[in-house]
Every structure is written in structure tokens, then in C-alpha cells.
Symmetry: C2
Subunit: 274 residues, 2 copies
């Protein structure tokens, strides 16, 4: 069986107890660097697959410090604190002599099957198979996902003087299909287009600078999803002086909230110099 | 003029280029450690007040790894990456030989006065002066804030078999009053009671394990608030297997969104052993 391109993109070779080498993947290339989702997933994977890791994923924050150049990068992951039921990790990705290209922290913990209460539900939508694939081609990483927008695709042809809807509801499935796991879920958390593009209906200089993901599903829950599509919901609260927030939910087709994510996204006016 | 207890709690003495000593403050003591808001604010302050810091606050993530004991702690803050318009920081707080008690990352950036778009509004509420102070006494840190719940105070006397409302709307003001700045805003982001208490209407073992704050206001915006109360809105999406999320908004009285925060909170069933 051929290795899935996502797993190939996340391949890490150990160079020390807490350090690994990886290489950027053309299959997940974005405009000026790799898709942030694979950067986040590689950092997360270094902690998750570390022999000292204890507990299930609870939270991850990744700060995207600079675009990676094509080629090799290094990842360091070390446990910052191990408690009885939680464990905190610190990670960093670097490339050449330029310093950090990404920093991250992660939290793992035991998840007793105790009291639960769910306050939100997924939107009612047509099934994945009922929807056409939304054309997004050309970038590399966007071809690695089968996006099917139910609501809030970018209206590239719309009137640029009027603000576009910032809320999107869409099915997302790996292409080729891949069974869901925590590293795959991390990448999905970053697979939503910057809301600034939906709002402005045109390309502008933008990029996620920090993303926090909270896990509401265990590895067993994710395995139960298999390689089926997941439902994503994304929206923003405010665009103000060069940065906008962005919150997303990822749902299984049978209505379990798998993860929530929160991003802060850098943007500039259309046509401006970064 | 006497130093405000918040500023006294955040006093940091340099011990090296990137390292400081501080001391816990009884004025902001919580049940088994300091109020997390002063821990977060001290970590943030170490980066913000560093001579190498460039740009306005954009994002902060703090991971609360362990309760601090009363006494001295050390803070390390170093720039991880400096770009033309953004700068990333990594911070860590430690105490004795036990390793990290908190880890953090922060993002600062230039905020050009460009395109803005606001999608949410503050709830319509009676003015701060029209509301009575909500009794919260006894803990130390809770006495340092004048909380005035408009909606969603903890219903300690309510029927424990029925879930309580998780959404709160409240005015919050420092006691004694203190002019708003970024460190004060960081602490306010952590001043919301864990939603699990609102839901269960009783004390349970709980604690925030990670908090991310996004700044939507500049230092000048915060200075304009002065020492007036700010309006807080907090709610959760899901409580599941020992962790719940919590999202909050902080508004100025004149309707500017100052910050949003996102927390993941550890909880156990009532009466359970941590």
C-alpha cells in the first residue's frame, strides 16, 4: 500500500531524544510555504509520538512565525510538566539559521467517561454524497481535500464593495481518503480559508499567525469516523486593524463535536504590500 | 500613591537578560494557588516589558501546568522570531525544582488603521452603576474584582439535578479601580468562573488548563477605557470527559470589543478525587 501523502508530509527522522528532521511536501504546498495544517500536524505529532507522552490530546496551540522554504526542517518537542492526569508539552520548528518558523504547546490528559453536557448541535445539511465538490484547484494543498461547501463559499465574482458572508458550512474529506486520527484532525482545524477572503471576495495578503485547537473527541472516537467526510463550520467575530479572529467547529457525520479551533489571522488591504 | 495590588502582584525583578523573579500575592490568592489571571499577566508582562519587544499585543496563550506554592517564582521570556510586522515570544514560569508551572507564547504586531468589519455586538444591559455588586467574597482574588452579574450568576441554591445556564453576562471592574492596560486585560480574560460551576450549581474539582486571548484593542483603546467597568460575556460549547471549553468576550462600555478568550477547563464529577 502506498503511503498517504499526508503521512509522507509528516515523516520525522529522529536526530536526538527530543529532536527530529522533516521535509516540506509539494503535495501540501501553499502559496509561499507549506499548508499550515501540515506544519501544525508535524509539531503535534512530535509530541504525540514521543515515548514520554501520556494521555489523550486535549489542546494544541501553534504559532506560525514565518513561511518555511522548501526542504528540510527540524522539530524539537519536550515535556514541560507531567502531572497525574495532565501533561504539558513545548514544541518548536526551525529551519536553517533563521530561528523559529513555528512554536507550539500541547496538552494531553486522561479523559474519564464522566459527566457530559453538549450545548451546540451541528447545522442540518445535505449529506456529503448529495453535494458537488467545490472547485478550489491549483494550490497543492487545496487539492488534498475534497471541499463541498453547503454555505459560504468564496464569492470571487461578487460585488467587492459589499461585504461577503463570513460564515461557511462545508464537508471536508481527505483526497485521497485517509482514516481520521488526531494528527489529521489538527490539519483539518487549519483547513478553513481565511475569513478575510470570504469577506472581501478577493485575494489579499493574509495568513494565520496563531491557532488553538481543543479536542473534544478521543482517538477511539476519531477511529470510528474512519475516512468519512467531516462537517466544518467557521466564522469570525471581528476584523480590526490588520488581524481577524476565526472560530471553527469540526463535526462527525453522526453529530459528535470532534474539535473546536480558534485562529488569529493577519490581513492587509487588497493590493497592499505585506 | 500606594501601588495597586495588581501591580504589586506583577512586580518582576530582573535576574538575567531574559529572566525575572516574582512572588505570589495573597491579595490575588485562589483556593490552591494564585488566581490564574495574575499568572497569565505576569508571563505576558515579561514579554511586553522586554526591551526587545516590538508591536502591539495580538495573541497570548498560557498553559497552567501546576498550582504555584506561595512564594518566589521565576519567569523566562525570549523572542522566538522577529519579522517586519510581527514578533513571536516564548515564556515559561517555574518554581523550585518542580519544572514548569506555566508555559506561554505571545504574539505582537503592528496594527495599521485599515479596513475593519465587526460582526458581533455587545448585549444590551443596564449600566454598571444600576446593578448591585454580586457577592463572591472569601477567596482573595474574587474580592479584587467588583462583579455585577446581569445574567447567569451561579445558582448555588438551585436544583442540582437540572443543568444551570452556562452563559453569563456581567460587568467587571478592578477593586480598587485600576486603569485598563494590556496586562490588566489579560487578567480579566481569566476572571470568568469556570462554566462547570454554573452548570452543576456546586463546587467541583476544576481548573483552567489552557487559555488563549486575542486582542482586538490597542493600548490607546485600553487607556481610553480608564478605570471604568468592562462588560464580559462567557459561555461554553461542550463538556465532555473531563474537559470543557469556554469562550469569553470583553467589551468596553461604549461597545468596543476589547478581547476574546478561549479556555479549556479541567473538571471532575462533584465529590470526586482530583
Amino acid at each position: 500500500m502506498t503511503e498517504h501523502p499526508f503521512d509522507a508530509a509528516l515523516a520525522l527522522d529522529p536526530i536526538a531524544d527530543d529532536a527530529w528532521h522533516g521535509r516540506t511536501s509539494d503535495a501540501y504546498w501553499n502559496m509561499v510555504g507549506p499548508f499550515g495544517g501540515v506544519v501544525a500536524a508535524a509539531l503535534f505529532r512530535a509530541a504525540q509520538d514521543h515515548p514520554l507522552r501520556r494521555g489523550d490530546p486535549v489542546a494544541l496551540t501553534v504559532n506560525f512565525c514565518a513561511a518555511l522554504a522548501k526542504g528540510a526542517f527540524a522539530v524539537v518537542a519536550r515535556p514541560a510538566r507531567t502531572n497525574r492526569s495532565t501533561q504539558h508539552w513545548t514544541m518548536e520548528m526551525s529551519q536553517g539559521d533563521g530561528g523559529a518558523v513555528a512554536t507550539a504547546t500541547a496538552l494531553f490528559g486522561t479523559r474519564p467517561d464522566s459527566f457530559a453536557h453538549r450545548l451546540i448541535s451541528p447545522p442540518a445539511v445535505p449529506a456529503f454524497d448529495m453535494m458537488p465538490r467545490t472547485p478550489t484547484g491549483g494550490l497543492g494543498w487545496t487539492d488534498r481535500y475534497d471541499f463541498r461547501f453547503v454555505e459560504g463559499a468564496i464569492d470571487w465574482q461578487g460585488d467587492k464593495a459589499a461585504p461577503g458572508a463570513t460564515r461557511s458550512v462545508l464537508w471536508i474529506r481527505n483526497d485521497p481518503p485517509r482514516s481520521l486520527d488526531a494528527v489529521g484532525l489538527v490539519a483539518l482545524c487549519d483547513s478553513f480559508f481565511g475569513r478575510i477572503l470570504h469577506l472581501r471576495k478577493q485575494m489579499v495578503p493574509f495568513g494565520t499567525v496563531s491557532m488553538t485547537a481543543f479536542f473534544h473527541a478521543t482517538p477511539a472516537d476519531l477511529a470510528a469516523v474512519g475516512d468519512a467526510a467531516v462537517l466544518g463550520v467557521a466564522d469570525s467575530r471581528v476584523f480590526d486593524r490588520g488581524f481577524h479572529d476565526q472560530t471553527a467547529e469540526l463535526w462527525s457525520a453522526d453529530g459528535r463535536l470532534l474539535a473546536t479551533s480558534h485562529q488569529i489571522v493577519y490581513y492587509r488591504d487588497p493590493g497592499s504590500d505585506r
